[in-house]
């Protein structure tokens, strides 16, 4: 009885909708658009002062120093900064609506090995969170499932869709592996051995999968084996959540044994084995720069300077913001603080644009403002990396100018009106 009662309440709560429902996805780009006179940050380290960027049919057709263009709708962006659309490489966006309410969560599936589970399927384009994220310049997000040891597949979504079919930007681009802890929480038992056993189970799974996939015909179809086919062919990325050296080295051993394209997610101690990672072509997604040092003795600024350490060491990396309280919207500032601790601003920008695109395997389409790529563009009043200057005034996804309104802005307006404030 109580259960039924509760579910009625939650339905009522969820259907408590606001004006946000009028924020519609934009129609396809019509006509050519030029943004003029802004400072253009390409995303690859280059900056063009007084630049011009032209895009048509959703693609960038030209980026250059400003010179007049004819017969093109030109928007004067004098004094503004133009950036590639920011990309969130690890997020629960669209899966985790209200973190404390289990019925709104779709990232944890039951079972240990679920490569066949797909985040794209549950991605909710009508999540109340998405509008807030994109109005901070984040136009693409790689959506991660989280449960078990092998959680399932990730997909990159563009944040302006009617449904997951038209929002998907790269389908099932990766498979997530949560490396078990390889240290003890107490002197009891042997958790490290247990973890090694779990890892061995995963290894056995992949060995069997490989054998299965090498053989074209099967008496019984195995959906889990089928789901990792593209990992073996190199079309999918193996995302491994791991932070400490031993855990990362095991991840690399998977990469070597099975030829997986492997990316470490977290990689807290990755800078300590930079050469090893480079030798094995492993990239790192840094989980949230705004975080505490992992261990009591660690440098107080360890997480802040970690991007710089990887940059110096030459390990390919990008930065993520999976923060569940501010809901992923501070990606740019995570890069900004890394810039305060050693990265140049353009390197910091690259770590949330082009480097991310490379790691996610979408750099042929986005990540930088280069001719031929999708017109995923953000316009800001000031430096996008700094909280006090970042103010996004326009954004384009595949050339479509998206509506930057959100529920928070609407409530702001509503109550400023109530108090007669400006």
């Amino acid at each position: 009885m109580k259960k039924i009662f509760l579910s009625i309440i939650s339905i009522a709560a969820i259907s408590m909708v606001h004006a946000q429902e009028t924020i519609s996805p934009a129609p396809a780009q019509a006509g050519t658009i030029a943004l003029a006179h802004a400072t253009i940050h390409i995303g690859n380290g280059e900056v063009i002062e007084d630049g011009l960027i032209i895009f048509s049919n959703g693609k960038i057709t030209d980026v250059r120093k400003y010179s007049p263009v004819e017969n093109v709708k030109t928007i004067d962006c004098t004094g503004k900064q133009i950036y590639p659309g920011l990309i969130s490489p690890v997020s629960n966006l669209g899966l985790d609506e209200v973190s404390a309410v289990p019925s709104t969560l779709d990232q944890y599936e039951l079972g240990d090995i679920n490569p066949n589970v797909r985040s794209v399927i549950a991605y909710n384009t009508d999540s109340k969170v998405i509008d807030n994220v994109r109005s901070n310049g984040i136009l693409l997000a790689n959506v991660f499932p989280q449960g078990g040891i092998i959680s399932g597949s990730t997909s990159v979504m563009q944040l302006d869709g009617w449904n997951w079919e038209d929002a998907v930007y790269k389908m099932d681009g990766g498979i997530v592996f949560n490396m078990p802890n390889l240290f003890r929480f107490s002197t009891e038992g042997d958790p490290v051995k247990d973890a090694m056993d779990q890892i061995e189970n995963v290894r056995t799974f992949f060995r069997q999968a490989k054998a299965y996939l090498d053989e074209p015909k099967h008496e019984h179809t195995n959906l889990k084996f089928e789901a990792v086919k593209k990992l073996f062919s190199g079309e999918q990325t193996f995302f491994v959540n791991a932070d400490l050296v031993k855990e990362m080295m095991i991840a690399v051993s998977f990469a070597k044994e099975f030829g997986f394209k492997t990316v470490i997610v977290g990689g807290y101690d990755s800078w300590k084995i930079a050469d090893y990672l480079k030798q094995n072509n492993i990239s790192v997604i840094i989980n949230q720069v705004f975080s505490l040092p992992g261990f009591q003795d660690d440098d107080v600024d360890m997480p802040y300077k970690m991007p710089f350490l990887l940059q110096q060491a030459g390990v390919p990396f990008c930065i993520s913001d999976p923060n569940e309280s501010s809901r992923y919207r501070n990606l740019a500032f995570n890069a900004g603080v890394a810039s305060g601790y050693g990265l140049t601003k353009e390197q910091a920008l690259q770590a949330i644009t082009l480097s991310t695109a490379k790691i996610l395997g979408i750099d042929n389409r986005t990540g930088s403002l280069e001719k031929g790529k999708d017109a995923n563009i953000v316009v800001s009043d000031g430096d996008i990396l700094d909280i006090r200057t970042s103010n996004i005034t326009a954004a384009y996804i595949q050339g479509r100018q998206i509506n930057l309104d959100n529920k928070q802005k609407q409530l702001y307006k509503k109550f400023m009106d109530k108090y007669g404030l400006k």
């Binding site: 209200v98 040092p293 603080v337 702001y412």
Partner: protein, 1013 residues
């Protein structure tokens, strides 16, 4: 001719029982005798002994007379009574046996009750006329529970103990302990004092009751019980018979022993003792050496454990990665503690408590002696001190006439590694520890083997230690030495050896040692029967021991204590400095606004002048060119530096609990937050109940103790909470009232109604800490900061406050404050909010990042808070979000983490702005403090630089050097055969207000989540 008989198992049992009973040499008058009376006087004389009567008095060639379990006489010129059995103790030492005040010997363990975690247990499950709380068991009487256990007694006797105070180690008030000896006898005789002491702890043990579920709750419960017990003396009719309170009062006449087990908990216990004018003997935890000044100042006596940590197995660098320097350092320094107590002149006893096996006791004690404890003091801490602490030195604790005949017989100074304990006499009865070595048979002998054919002669060198003999054998005229195994039991002896030429064949001799002649029979290696004898020829010569010196080299200890005791501590407390900060941009937070190219002078911890081209005598000059100086960041909502939990969840009203009781000055987050410019933190109780606990404002004086961290002369505050957390929306089945926001209001109305009635009660009323606190609120002496989210509940609390005539000082979190900013302003409430959190729970669906801006523009005093150890490291940036979301001017934005929280905490007269006369709590930033590119370069509290970017670099280097040294030392220890323990990750206690906005804020956290999902 003996008859060998096989006994059936049942008969064997009877036989064993008979033997046991026959051991009782004392006849208890009221007990019937089965057999013939065997009354003995147990009259013994020990002669020619070295008798250490007490640590100060050693008699040589002395005599000890005991009779009927007591010492009759001790001295050097004492006639031996004719009817006493004489034991010659030539070469032997006699010491008083040890006393352990903290034992559970002979007490049955408590079987923990089954807790139903899904249900809230409001009152005690203990049936009977006892008190309300299941963790308070002052009525427990160990003398009624005690039953002797010879196996366990033997373990303790073997390491020198003769007497213990045993109690049931369960609960917060544990009742009385009983003083018993470790003899094997009827309990009636073993029990020396039925009620010897009473015991307390901060551990609720087997109690399944919810209250208390935090350390601060445990402290509050103890304090309230002192008050209740006092009141109970008036025999209040409203209470009926309360056996627990009666016992509590009865126990007050006994010595009071408090198991605190940690340096800070020791001080917490002492604080309670001082408040209620009692004196606790503190059972410490072994980390007291980290704060010797505080231990000394506490004036307490201590019972110290010697359960020094084992070396950690750090051979794998990946294991070393997860262990903190503080843990490694504790391994190195813990054995110094008893010596440091001696040096500091603090009264202490020692205990076996905490040891995995009592066999480790002597080895660890020797470690303490190697590390500064004198042998005399060690003996005192095991004899005279414990006896004196509980007032039984007239009975035990030294070898003096009239005392119990409890003593140890050894062959040398008691704590020497090579000394053998032969006998432990308890109440005049001998308990043999070992018989071997009582006589030293070492020496050079002549062995003769006689067989039918002929005699063979050898020389035998008997060596080794007196209790563990070894030997080599040589044929006369031969140079080859052969090792001989000797095993002996008393006078019975067995020798075996085999010649190198034929190692498979054994020579075996068995026999008896008859003074200087050994005789017996055996086999030679050919299997021939033979008889033998071995004649003493010359004395054994001991070779000097050279191994010791090598060990000493290895065991170089860095004895420097750092404050606090972790990698970022300093050996000396940081000092106030006079400072001149030149040519800096000053964010005054005053009407002057921002002043560029300005100088600020700090003297004696205060800001003394602000202006251009200032000079300041000998003050240290800091160049501020291109930099920014602001008031220190103040976090209105913090949970750092707390131990034992921030939530006392067990009741909806827990106004009696105090964060002030559980401040943890060692928390690494303090240092990390200094690095983010934080100078003060308002440390709050959590939000799991409507009326939570009293809060504490601290200054981040890194390295100081808890008392020194507290912000002086501060108005007290208290945490309230509303909404989902207090109605426990995310639990499976809440049965703690309230379950709705309607109920939350009634909790408040009820609490204040009770408090109002309480104030009107007569002076003889029971003093109630909860209602006292609520009265303070109504009398404007304590102020509320209330966790709240949605407008309806914000509105509600202001109505309740109006009804009871007080104001809501601060609404904290207050993510829908923007909806009722006008009402808040009218009420006079301040707002302390998150910058940009939303959608993590249902009640924050309407949270907006513009909240701070709207409230600020509407005229409410607004602060940005953290509620999170990570977020607190950049409250300057969180405040900058009000520039981004709502265009708040930068100067006003910075006030949200400096002046505004100071204002709402009633300390703006001292901190929060850069103004002459205010405390010098300031931060020097490398850039505009609202910029993501800014770093705190120096964080100054009271003119003391607690964080310095440059010094931090040095600290890191020292930390690495020290880590590497200790890792190497542990690896070496393992290689040398030391016992080790596996590496376990060092956790720092991290508290959050609530779990539903849990932020994955560090690598470990992520790991944990992965493993738990």
């Amino acid at each position: 001719m003996r008859i060998l008989r096989l006994y059936s198992p049942g008969k064997l049992f009877l036989l064993a029982a008979f033997i046991l009973i026959s051991l009782f040499t004392f006849a208890q008058e009221t007990f019937p005798v089965n057999g013939v009376a065997d009354l003995r006087s147990d009259y013994f004389a020990f002669i020619n002994a070295t008798i250490v009567k007490d640590p100060q008095t050693t008699l040589t060639n002395a005599t000890l007379i005991i009779k009927q379990g007591k010492i009759v006489a001790v001295g050097t010129n004492i006639a031996v009574p004719k009817d006493a059995a004489v034991l010659d103790c030539k070469g032997k030492y006699i010491y008083p046996s040890f006393i352990d005040l903290f034992s559970d010997y002979g007490i049955p363990p408590v079987v923990p009750g089954k807790a139903d975690y899904s249900k809230y247990q409001n009152i005690s499950n203990t049936k009977g006329a006892y008190g309300w709380n299941q963790a308070l068991k002052p009525e427990t009487d160990a003398s009624k529970l005690f039953g002797s256990n010879n196996d366990k007694a033997k373990d303790l006797r073997n390491i020198g103990f003769g007497t213990v105070v045993s109690h049931q180690q369960d609960g917060i008030a544990r009742g009385t302990g009983t003083l018993v000896t470790l003899g094997n006898d009827k309990e009636n005789f073993l029990m020396i004092k039925d009620h010897a002491a009473t015991f307390y702890s901060f551990n609720k043990g087997s109690s399944t009751q919810d209250y208390p579920n935090s350390l601060m709750g445990e402290i509050a419960l103890l304090r309230q019980t002192y008050l209740d017990a006092q009141w109970y003396k008036t025999k209040p009719a409203t209470e009926g018979i309360n056996i627990s309170l009666q016992a509590w009062n009865d126990n007050q006449n006994l010595p009071q022993i408090f198991e605190a087990n940690d340096k800070w908990n020791d001080l917490r216990a002492v604080k309670i003792a001082n408040e209620f004018a009692v004196q606790y003997i503190i059972k410490g935890g072994g980390n007291e050496y980290e704060r010797m000044d505080e231990m000394k100042a506490s004036k307490a006596s201590f019972i110290l454990p010697v359960n020094f940590p084992l070396a950690i197995d750090l051979e794998d660098a990946n294991d070393a990665r997860v262990v903190a320097l503080s843990v490694m350092k504790h391994w190195e320094m813990a054995p110094l503690e008893p010596g440091m107590f001696e040096k500091a002149g603090i009264n202490f006893a020692l205990t076996t408590s905490g040891l995995k096996t009592s066999a480790d006791f002597l080895a660890n004690l020797r470690k303490a002696i190697e590390n500064g404890l004198t042998a005399n003091k060690a003996l005192e801490a095991l004899t005279k001190t414990p006896a004196t602490l509980i007032g039984v030195y007239d009975k035990v604790g030294s070898i003096d006439a009239g005392k119990l005949a409890n003593f140890i017989v050894t062959n040398g100074p008691i704590f020497d590694e090579k000394t053998i304990f032969y006998q432990n006499w308890v109440q005049g009865k001998k308990y043999i520890i070992t018989e071997n070595g009582w006589n030293d048979y070492r020496g050079n002998y002549k062995l003769t083997l006689k067989s039918e054919n002929k005699n063979k002669e050898y020389t035998v060198d008997v060596k080794g230690t007196p209790d563990k003999l070894a030997a080599t054998l040589q044929s006369v005229g031969d140079t080859v030495k052969t090792d001989v195994n000797i095993s002996s039991s008393g006078k019975m002896v067995k020798l075996t050896w085999s010649m190198k030429s034929d190692s498979a064949k054994l020579n075996v001799l068995t026999g008896l040692i008859e003074d200087k002649m050994w005789v017996g029979n055996g086999y030679n290696s050919d299997g021939d029967m033979l008889s033998w004898n071995m004649q003493y020829a010359s004395a054994f010569v001991e070779k000097p021991d050279t191994t010791k010196k090598k060990d000493e080299k290895k065991n170089i200890i860095n004895k420097t204590v750092v404050y606090p005791f972790n990698g970022y501590g300093s050996p000396d407390q940081k000092k106030q400095q006079d400072l001149l900060i030149k040519n800096v941009t000053v964010w005054t937070n005053e009407k002057e606004g921002n002043l560029e190219n300005t100088d600020v002078v700090i003297k004696n911890g205060k800001i003394v002048s602000i202006g251009k081209n200032l000079s300041a005598g000998n003050a240290k000059t800091i160049d501020g060119t291109g930099k920014h100086l602001t008031a220190g960041v103040i976090d209105e909502h913090s949970h750092i530096a707390v131990t034992g939990g921030v939530n006392e969840c067990s009741q909806s009203v827990t106004a009696e609990v105090r964060i002030a009781d559980v401040i943890d000055p060692d928390d690494i987050q303090i240092y990390r937050q200094l690095a983010g410019g934080v100078t003060s933190a308002h440390v709050l109780h959590g939000s799991c109940n409507t009326i939570g606990g009293q809060t504490q404002l601290i200054k981040l004086r890194w390295g100081r103790n808890a008392e020194d961290m507290k912000f002086a002369n501060w108005d007290g505050f208290i945490k309230f909470a509303l909404g989902e957390n207090v109605k426990r929306s995310y639990g499976q089945s809440n049965n703690r009232f309230p379950d709705t926001r309607m109920g939350v209001e009634q909790v408040l109305v009820d609490a204040f109604t009770r408090a109002r009635d309480y104030q009107n009660e007569s002076a003889s009323k029971r003093k109630d800490l909860e209602l006292e606190t609520l009265s303070e609120i109504m009398n404007h002496k304590r102020f509320i900061t209330c966790h709240s989210y949605v407008q309806s509940e914000i509105n509600m609390l202001m109505h309740v406050a109006d009804e009871f005539g007080f104001k809501v000082n601060t609404f904290t979190h207050i993510l829908e404050g923007y909806k009722v900013a006008d009402k808040m302003k009218a009420h006079g409430a301040a707002a302390s909010t998150f910058s940009d959190w939303y959608n993590y729970k249902m009640e924050v669906e309407d949270a907006i990042a513009y909240n701070a801006a709207i409230m600020q523009k509407e005229g409410v005093v607004v602060a940005i808070n953290s509620d999170d150890a990570e977020q607190a490291r950049h409250l300057n940036l969180e405040s900058a979000k009000s520039v981004k979301y709502g265009n708040v001017p930068e100067i006003e934005a910075l006030k949200m983490c400096t002046l505004n929280p100071a204002t709402m905490l009633h300390v703006a007269d001292r901190v929060g702005s850069i103004k002459v006369g205010k405390d010098a709590d300031v931060v020097l930033w490398t850039a505009n403090p609202l910029s993501v590119y800014a770093k705190a370069e120096k964080t100054i509290v009271d003119g003391t630089v607690y964080y310095d970017l440059e010094k931090d670099v040095q600290l890191r280097k020292q930390l690495m050097t020290e880590r590497n040294r200790l890792i190497q030392k542990m690896i070496a220890a393992k290689k040398d055969g030391a016992k080790t323990t596996p590496a376990v990750i060092t956790f720092d206690e991290q508290n959050e207000c609530e779990l539903d906005h849990h932020v994955k804020n560090s690598v470990l956290d992520i790991q944990q989540n992965v493993s738990s999902n």
